[in-house]
Symmetry: C2
DNA sequence: GTTATTATTGAACAATCGTTCATTTTTATT
DNA sequence: AATAAAAATGAACGATTGTTCAATAATAAC
């Protein structure tokens, strides 16, 4: 594999992820990538096959990183619900200024690609369902911990959460008032706790 | 202006809108547009200045069309809230199979473009705020008609609605079960009626 | 019907796109 | 130290990108 000595494969994928995240799949050129990861075309193609191949690994890396972040926050807060809340805060609010894009890379990809990229689109959907499963697990843990009503359907709650996150991230791209967005996130979590 | 005799300017913009809507700004090439609107580069540039210029008019046309549709539905149903519900149903559910893209063109554009296209991005934000205003007006009308609690903040409700629509349209791109999506739309409107 | 004005054409432009591959450099094996 | 295997290079490919402009066609004015 390419460049195993100095920089490892994961580092390359991470940098590529950030570029794709910022500029999108079509918006990112192979020459953009070459500069950012400091590799020549031949090496990139030897290691990842194609622009699609590298993008696919970027999507997977992005998803895995997100799920890991959620799990870490659950541990550090010592509560599934608080961990989830911290995750959503970071995702919707902090990410708006600190991340390559305020959007969710998966949502951005679903939005950008068409049937011309059927395989990438299918992979993206698969990864979003993977995120949904992580949410279901977390919400079920919150039920066990007595933080959420046990009568509620965690699958529906997870879907609801996905819609809120994706919607809020786009909306935060229009309305840059952090307090407004923070309030909207809070009211999402109020619907979890009450009823 | 180009081609005033046979096909009018609005028809050209409408076709361009559908193509941009399907493929995105970068995904749409000038040659794609040339085929769809049956015009040669010179004529297009004489009439619209640039790819950005035509896109800007497409965004405006899309927004205006959407607001007009909402107003028509309010009239035909004879109720602000029912009109709004029909609009959201059409937007989130029907559009998923019948429109060039299941996504909102404005949300898609916010998601796709970066600071490199600052002007287009600013125009898109302006248009989304225009949609928000149309929602505020409609929700206020619904209050007057006694369909929504008059104590509620219509600005917050309109923001909430924007988040739901944008989020649901993306989610509908992953989960294609129409009933699931329809249920989620229904529960959005339940929050309007109750409390 | 002739002239002036406006609209349309489509070939051509430089720049960039994703990708390939013969060559060189590095690493591993003996 | 010599040889074999693997990795990295970067020039070059054909295709496509957005855009321009001299030439042509259509329309308007008189």
């Amino acid at each position: 594999m390419a460049n195993t000595s100095k920089r490892n494969r994961l580092d390359i994928i991470d940098k590529s992820t950030n570029l794709y995240w910022e500029k999108g799949f079509y918006g990112t050129s192979m020459r953009n990538l070459q500069e950012v990861i400091d590799m020549r075309p031949g090496s990139i193609y030897a290691a990842f096959g194609s622009k699609e191949g590298l993008f696919k690994e970027a999507l997977q890396h992005y998803t895995q990183q997100g799920i890991e972040q959620l799990n870490k926050l659950k541990l550090s807060t010592g509560s599934p619900l608080k961990g989830l809340k911290s995750f959503v805060d970071a995702t919707v609010i902090t990410s708006q200024t600190d991340a390559p894009s305020g959007m969710c890379l998966l949502a951005k990809t679903i939005s950008e690609l068409t049937k011309d990229n059927a395989e990438l689109l299918a992979e993206t959907k698969r990864l979003l369902l993977q995120v949904e499963k992580a949410f279901i697990i977390t919400l079920t843990e919150a039920q066990v911990a007595g933080e959420i009503d046990k009568e509620k359907d965690t699958t529906k709650l997870a879907r609801y959460l996905q819609v809120q996150i994706m919607g809020l991230r786009i909306y935060a791209g229009i309305n840059h008032d952090k307090q407004t967005i923070a309030d909207m996130v809070n009211s999402v979590f109020l619907t979890f706790e009450q009823d």
